[in-house]
Structure formats: C-alpha cells, structure tokens
C-alpha cells in the first residue's frame, strides 16, 4: 500500500464492512454506501489527478502494477518464449519470444520484475545482465530476418550491477543493443509500462515509437541514486524525483517520447486489464503508422528521431 493511497483504501474497506453488515439491505445503509462510494471515487480522482513526481515513482514501482507477464497473457496470443543469448547463458530478467499481436506475428520482449519473492528472485527483480541484452539483440535480428515488428515492454530499475555482469561486458551489451535497435530494418515500438531505468531501459527502448503509461517513469538515474550523489543523501530522493523530470508528461514535453497512455482511475494496478487494453491499442496504432514505411525509411527516420534529442528546448 502506498502512503497516499491510505485514505482511499480505508474508505473502501469501510464500504466493504458496511456491505457485509447490511445483509437485510435497509434503504438507509444502501444510501450511505452509495454516498461513500462517490466519495471514494472523488478521493481517488483527486489524489491521482495531482500526483507529485515522487508519488509517481511509487506508483511506477507498485508491486501490483501489471508486469511483463500480465501484458503477455492479455495482449499476446501463442506466446512462445525463446531462451538464451547463444554465447553464455539465459537471463530471466529479460524475457523475449515470438507471439501474435492483434493477429500479427511479432517478436516481443521486456523485463519482468516478478510478483512474489520467489519469482522476483527468479527474474532478478527485472535487472538484466549482459546475457539478457544479447538475447534481445538476437531476437531483434531474427525479427528483421523474418520481417516482423518488435514490441518491447520496459520495466526495470536498471541493468544489474554485479561482478559477473561487468566481467562479461555489461556496457558492451547495452551499447550493442542500442546500436542493433538503431539500425534494425523492421519497426520497433516500445512501451514504458513501469520503470524506465537508465541504460537498462534504453537498451531496448531505442524505438520508432516510444509510449509511456501515464504514471510510469523514465530516468537517467534513480531519484535515490541522484540524491545521494548530488545532495549527498538519499533522503532528498523526493527533490531529485522532481528535478529529474522523469514523468511521462515531462518526457513528452521534452520531445523524448511520442505519446502517453492514460491510466485507469487510481493507476494501472487498480484495473490491470483496462490499462493493458489501452497500451495494446496504442501499440496497435503505432504499428499501423509504421507499416507504410520501407525498411530504409524506418532506419532513416529512427536515426533522425534520436539525432534531434536535446537539440530543441522544450
């Protein structure tokens, strides 16, 4: 539970209690319930219409927020996961494979954070190692070979900072993923569904269309990391979250993403399927837009897109 959601959840639990208590369903109680429901709705609307950047960071990291596997379940038919980078190993932090999106063959990939302790450990909290990014490159190239589009779902705190990861070239793996993405002769659409954590995110988000869920975040460094470097204390994470301009709105304003997908009232974690449907619709539109471009035009447009980032003031 997030701190600012507390009043909402308390009200909702009161409503539930009242409902259970009033099995005889007197008119008075029913009225009371509906009044409280309206109040709860207003409270949610009020809270979520003015989330601060720091609150958005919390929503983006919410444990119940739809993760990669939720999207796959709801949005991809015949999902066929493919394992391994063919060089060293398999990385379950970054899952990828073939599937059908709106009837069309696609390669789909993204970071999976896991939903409980066991799965979180299994997926290394969505923090990929070089193997993950090299698998991503392999799958992207395969998509190019078979002329099918790539969909990436980004949700990671960042690439894993570990001994083995460094030893096996974490930097090179990310750099090469960006390079492969930039020069891929097939459409790439990226959706930032939770956390877009720095290099670990951009490695699979160098796309023709970049979509962000309204309460997801995209940043060069975590607010905590930024605060401990620039403010010399992680206590200033709230300030850093504001300063970094990591919200979807800011990203759109600065010309770094293409569109924002509105989240259902109260955040994607309250109505998972609805959120996923909306993301699906936006990905679908984006693929439609890109379908008329030739492979060379795609690459050229992608290069031009990233070439202008930072050139214009917002």
């Amino acid at each position: 539970m997030l701190d600012f959601e507390k009043p909402i959840l308390e009200l909702e639990s009161k409503i539930r209690e009242l409902r259970n208590a009033s099995s005889d369903d007197t008119l008075n109680i029913a009225e009371e319930i509906s009044r409280m429901e309206i109040k709860a709705q207003r409270l949610i609307q009020h809270t979520y219409s003015k989330l601060t950047p720091a609150q958005k960071v919390k929503v983006a990291r919410h444990k119940d927020r739809p993760h990669f596997h939720d999207y796959i379940k709801n949005m991809i038919e015949d999902f066929t996961p493919l394992a391994g980078d063919r060089l060293f190993g398999e990385d379950l932090a970054l899952i990828g494979g073939l599937g059908r999106f709106n009837g069309q063959s696609v390669v789909v990939m993204g970071q999976e954070k896991g939903a409980d302790t066991e799965s979180r450990l299994k997926h290394n909290f969505g923090m990929a190692r070089p193997e993950g990014y090299r698998k991503a490159q392999r799958l992207m190239k395969m998509a190019e070979q078979f002329k099918i589009p790539v969909i990436t779902l980004v949700d990671t705190a960042g690439a894993y900072p570990g001994l083995g990861a460094e030893e096996r070239g974490q930097s090179e793996a990310i750099a090469k993923s960006i390079e492969v993405s930039l020069n891929l002769k097939t459409p790439i659409v990226s959706a930032i569904i939770g956390e877009g954590g720095s290099g670990g995110a951009i490695a699979i988000a160098t796309a023709d269309r970049i979509i962000m869920l309204a309460h997801s975040i995209y940043s060069v460094i975590s607010p905590e990391g930024c605060a401990s470097i620039l403010w010399r204390s992680a206590d200033y994470a709230k300030d850093a979250a504001g300063a970094l301009k990591l919200t979807a709105e800011d990203m759109l304003k600065n010309g770094l993403i293409d569109s924002i997908v509105k989240e259902p009232l109260g955040g994607a974690h309250r109505q998972k399927e609805k959120a996923i449907r909306r993301v699906q619709a936006k990905i679908s539109d984006s693929l439609q837009e890109l379908s008329s471009l030739s492979p060379d035009q795609l690459v050229e447009a992608r290069h031009a897109k990233f070439l202008q980032m930072g050139r214009k003031a917002a």
Binding site: A159, P161, V220, W231, F306, L307, M309, G310
Partner: protein
C-alpha cells in the same frame, strides 16, 4: 597579528611584487608508487611516472595534441545547444555549475574536437574533458560527438573518440540518457561511410558513456590502468556484498575479458593508432587524393614503421616547425624529450 597579515603583508607584497618565480610544486608524488617526480620530467613524460609507468591525468588539450602528428590540429567549432533544459537545481543550480566549470576550464563544455593527421592519415579526434563536470555527457557533448562524426564523414577521415567521463550528466535528466542512442547514430554515420571508428578509453570511462558509443568501436584501445566499467565499484560492492578484486574494471582486466583490443602506453598512442589507421585505410586510398597533394601532408603521408623512424621524421621537420607557431614548438620539445627517454619503463606496452 591580524592587521599584520591582512594589512601589512599585502601592502609589502604589492610593493615588492608577487614572489611567484619559484613554483610551489617542483616535485610531485606518483599516486601509484609514491616515487617523487620532478616537474620537468612530469611534462616531458606526458604525466607518466618514470618509476612505475603509472598514467596520470593530463589536460584535454594536452591529450588531443599528443594524439595528432607533431601535435598539429585544427579545432572544430561545436554548435550550441539549449542550456539547462530542465532548469535543474540540486544544492546548486546547474547553470551555476556550468558557469564554474567554464571559468575553470575556459571551455564551453566537456568535449573538444580536432581535425588533423595521425600516422599521416586524416583523423577527427573528439576528446572528453574530465575537468568539466567529470566529463559527463549531456546534450552539448552529444551534439559535439555528432559534429565530430559528421566532420569525419565530410573530411573522409577516421573518427577517434577519447572518453574520460563518469557517465551521463544527471542535471539533464533523460535528455542525457538519450545522448546514448544519439552518439551511436553519430558513429553509425562514420561506419556507414566506411571510415574507421576507434575508441581510446582513458581513465575513467563509466556509466552511460561506456554503455554507448565507447563500446561499439571498430577497435578499442585503452591506456594502462584506466578504470572502465558500467556500474561503479562501490555500487557493485553494496549490491553483491563482496569485496571486488583490486584490478577490477582496469584496462588490463578488460583486456583479459575480451572487451578491448589492446592496452597502449601514452607515448605509443600516436604511433599505434597511426599504424592501425594506415592498415584500415588501405582500400580507402581513393578517398584521400587531396591528402597526397597537400604540401604539409606529403611529409606526413608515410606511416612511421617504428618509433625510431618517427623521431627522425619529426626531427627532420624541426626547421620548418621552428618557424611555425608556439604550439608546434611545444610539440617538438615533446618529441625530442621522448627520444631521450626511449628506454624508460613507462613504455611497456601490452598488446594482443
């Protein structure tokens, strides 16, 4: 005592004049072996310790001079970019940090780009200035890298990028993150045009810089002892709760793990890169016909097969160089001093 030090002393000083004829730091201690190095030896040896071969920090101007033949190059003007796009402020405003760095370095941002010749081959060098906000990469550096790449393509030259950077510039938020793909768009132009792209990794190269253009070179060269990696050592130690080996993320460690082609000591860089460019540009000869006809270019066109030849060449040029600018004089001095020190242990060169 106060009036003595704050009133009388400055007064006397203003009459007598500043007694700064004797520099304070005649001797410097090598941070690696703690051996004492005389300031002249320090300059002559390009800030490499003559006791242990430890490579110390050098200025970006010195760095770029060192790479080009005879230290000659022309600076490429870099376009301006919107400043402080996020109006970023931590304990200090980003605009103030920029101001301070500019005052300190006399440079606009953390990248300088030069065009010249290396081993007689046309080359664009883009070098990071670590003294400018830790060499961090923001939109200005990204723009500089793109300009360097475009210049290389236009001039039919090789591109050599020399990172020395802590990573992305946090104060530009996700805009700095986007310089990762952006810089790679730049080097892709050079690659597509068929010219060599060489990365010379110097201390330190980490974070978003190492995870972008710095790791997609045709050839990766590193200076001895340089720290190169993605995540910081402290972050990793905190994550895995283990002590990391001493040589972790050093150039030698990367060489062992297949991430760089060679570790080359500072005094060998020009020769080594020159040789590589000459080998790579073999089939590109048609592209530089104008280079062959240039009056200056002709003497530089021949690659230097080894260090000895190169020195003679340089020496041969001395008379003409003497007439030239101050910069050239400095370079001459450097090359001559190298000749005297050709047997120093700092020349150990590991190559694979």
């Amino acid at each position: 005592m106060n009036w003595l030090s704050s009133y009388i002393r400055p007064k006397i000083r203003s009459i007598v004049g500043e007694q700064k004829d004797v520099p304070d730091n005649l001797w410097q201690k090598c941070p690696a072996c703690e051996g004492m190095i005389f300031h002249r030896e320090m300059t002559d040896n390009d800030a490499v310790c003559h006791h242990c071969g430890h490579h110390m920090k050098i200025t970006v101007q010195k760095r770029i001079e060192l790479l080009f033949d005879q230290g000659e190059y022309s600076r490429i003007k870099l376009p301006n970019v919107p400043e402080d796009p996020l109006k970023f402020k931590d304990k200090k405003k980003y605009v103030d940090r920029l101001k301070d760095s500019r005052a300190k370095t006399k440079e606009k941002d953390a990248l300088i780009v030069g065009l010249g010749r290396i081993g007689g081959q046309k080359a664009v060098v883009a070098a990071f200035n670590f003294s400018f906000m830790g060499g961090s990469m923001g939109a200005a550096v990204g723009e500089g890298l793109v300009t360097a790449a475009q210049t290389a393509v236009k001039e039919k030259a090789a591109l050599i990028v020399v990172p020395s950077s802590g990573g992305a510039r946090m104060q530009e938020g996700a805009i700095s993150l986007m310089q990762m793909p952006r810089s790679i768009v730049g080097v892709t132009m050079v690659k597509n045009a068929g010219f060599p792209y060489i990365v010379l990794l110097t201390h330190p190269t980490t974070g978003g810089v190492s995870a972008s253009f710095a790791m997609v070179g045709d050839i990766h060269i590193s200076e001895p002892g340089a720290m190169i990696g993605f995540a910081g050592k402290r972050v990793i130690e905190e994550t895995i709760r283990e002590k990391l080996p001493d040589d972790f993320q050093t150039a030698e460690y990367l060489l062992e793990h297949g991430m760089v082609d060679m570790v080359v000591s500072r005094d060998q860089l020009n020769t080594k890169i020159g040789k590589i460019l000459t080998l790579l540009m073999e089939t590109k000869k048609d592209y530089t016909p104008e280079g062959k006809n240039e009056p200056n270019g002709s003497s530089e066109q021949t690659p230097f097969p080894d260090n000895k030849d190169r020195k003679e060449k340089t020496k041969g040029n001395v008379t003409s160089l003497d007439k030239a600018r101050n910069k050239k004089k400095k370079a001459k001095k450097r090359h001559q001093s190298k000749k005297n020190k050709s047997q120093t242990p700092s020349q150990k060169t590991a190559t694979h």
